[in-house]
Amino acid sequence: MRRSLLFLPGNTPNMLINGSCLGSDAVIFDLEDAVSPAEKDAARILVRNTMTYMDFRGCETIVRINGIDTPYWQEDLDEVLPCRPNLILLPKTGTAADVQTADAYMTQVEQRLGLAPNTVGLVALIETALGVENAFAIASASPRVTALFLGAEDLTADLQCKRTKESREIEYARTRLVVAARAAGVDVYDTPFTDVNDDEGIEVDALHAKALGFTGKASISPRHVEVINRVFSPSQADIDYAYEVMEAIRIGKEQGKGAVALRGKMIDAPIVARAQRTIAMAQELGLGREEA
């Protein structure tokens, strides 16, 4: 379950060491934009040691490495893969070939370390027009890909448009990524809301992302984590309805009914699937019922 993914600058100890206490489902150790070229070496070592010595149980670890068009990305992987982060976030993924390049090197390192192939997953950060256009091919490029991730700041620069709070300029990219990810059977994460002081804005933005089908949302501020977690969690009404659906299905089967209705509405396979997902998430959050 990854509702919230919190970026932490890779060379800033006071952020990194508190990363697991900030409430997010995952933290993203950033070796890319948050680290100047002169400090890439220091950040790699600091991130590696943070993962080695700090306790991140209950919080997944993701490392955003540098892009494959830089001289840094292979050293990034050499340094962090031995710590077995849950995922690598690959920036500026534009084509399926980009994924395959990173995937091939990750496989080499995994072999060197004696790890099974695909021990560490890959999330493709889509932040160029080319990446949006190739989203399905990227999501399908390797079994290592577990999710797509929208990066709107770089994307809007590439699109030559202004990034606004209303976010109309990224609506196409958002819907395109959700469709591509779901078609490929992987998760999809929304771009951070960058105004850290706008508590109302983050809620509106997160609700919109959830409504479009995103799995979760990234954040650059610990202040946004609680809102994102709440928005991407099932409400009590959602959970109650999911159990009602499953109960109606159970009774229908007992009675040999081919079709089952609840509250005057037919329950079909997609509704059952959604109810099962809701119950699974509720149970993971400790909100499920024992009899389920």
Partner: protein, 90 residues
């Protein structure tokens, strides 16, 4: 053995960080430590610094450590980075 061939530094003076400077030496490890928690943790910090230097194979160096309340893993990181920069292979 790793030889420190030039002066190098790593880290910052920000809270929870440590600033490490290393330079060539000829009389073993000459360590100078400043820390806001030196009274309580000075010996422990020095032990970590010497352990990392030992792991890196550094036998001779002048090392200055200005600690701002860094955790063990941060001290380890900054010392290792300073060594790698000082030996000229990063």
């Amino acid at each position: 053995m790793t030889e420190i061939v030039r002066s190098a530094s790593a880290g910052t003076m920000e809270s929870s960080d440590v600033y490490v400077e290393i330079e060539p030496g000829q009389a073993g490890i000459e360590l100078r430590l400043e820390s806001v928690v030196k009274g309580q943790f000075g010996p422990a910090i020095e032990e970590v610094v010497r352990e990392v230097l030992d792991q890196c194979g550094v036998e001779n160096a002048k090392v200055s450590v200005r600690d701002r309340g860094a955790l063990d893993c941060v001290i380890r990181s900054r010392v290792e980075t300073a060594v790698k920069r000082g030996r000229g292979n990063t």
